[in-house]
């Protein structure tokens, strides 16, 4: 078995999730399971749209260098835990409008279990380890730094209790 592939990108430019998925599938044709996740900017703040307050824009600040390094560490940890064939992570920074893609994670493995687990794990861990900070803007122009959610910490920690 060749060592698992890794492709990690931190970029301002948008990405084409479908094109990335197809390129990823083309280079992993016989991986039985390919799990992926696209994070998009919501148009509301909160758990659901009905209870939330509207958002019009967002800025994602990041720590250049450390962002790439932390994402690489998270992917390495995933590859240590599961037998992945290949992993892709793209995380954007800069200015966003509702609906814009923020993050893409794709993981390939022989079977669906490790593909889903690796993809989900990478999302949970990057949420608490990768140095990105969201600042949201409401319709009145006011800006708010998003606060870290306890539920994200809980999701990241649950991987150590399995």
């Amino acid at each position: 078995m060749p060592r698992s592939g890794v492709d990690i990108r931190v970029q301002r430019e948008t990405f084409d999730a479908g094109a990335e998925l197809n390129r990823f599938l083309a280079r992993n044709p016989t991986s039985g399971g390919v799990a992926s996740f696209v994070g998009q900017m919501r148009d509301f703040r909160g758990l659901d749209r009905a209870d939330g307050t509207p958002l019009t824009a967002m800025t994602l600040e990041h720590y250049p260098g450390m962002a790439e390094r932390q994402l690489a560490d998270v992917v390495t940890e995933a590859q240590t835990r599961w037998a992945t064939d290949d992993v892709l992570v793209i995380h954007r920074y800069g200015d966003f409008a509702p609906g814009d893609p923020i993050v893409l994670v794709i993981a390939a493995a022989a079977h669906r279990g490790p593909a889903f687990d690796a993809c989900s794990f990478i999302m949970d861990w990057l949420k608490t380890k990768a140095p990105f900070w969201k600042q949201e803007r409401g319709p009145d122009g006011s800006t708010t730094w998003v606060e870290a959610r306890d539920s994200d910490d809980a999701r990241a920690e649950k991987w150590d209790k399995r």
């Binding site: 720590y63 932390q70 990057l126 608490t128 990768a130 870290a148």
Partner: protein, 83 residues
């Protein structure tokens, strides 16, 4: 030593980066935080509740007790919220 600030920590301090030379008795992240907080009222405001501020030494997350011996780059920021 290069010190970096991000997100609301940066906004409160008012600068994104500064080069500092702490005295020899400042040996841990916690001591560096206290020493930086005394540099200006803005620094003091940023570090008012130091538990809210996370620290990375040379791009690795560290707890307050970590030594800063040999550190080239120390960064202060809120809990991360990307993804």
């Amino acid at each position: 030593m290069n010190v970096l600030y991000f997100a609301w920590v940066k906004e409160k301090v008012g600068i994104s980066e500064e080069t500092v030379t702490p005295p020899a008795d400042v040996t841990t992240v916690a001591q560096l935080t206290t020493w930086l907080a005394a540099r200006s009222p803005k620094h003091a405001a940023a570090f008012k509740d130091a538990r809210l501020v996370k620290v990375a030494v040379d791009q690795v997350h560290v707890p307050p007790s970590t030594s800063i011996a040999g550190a080239r780059e120390v960064a202060f920021f809120p809990p991360v919220t990307g993804g």
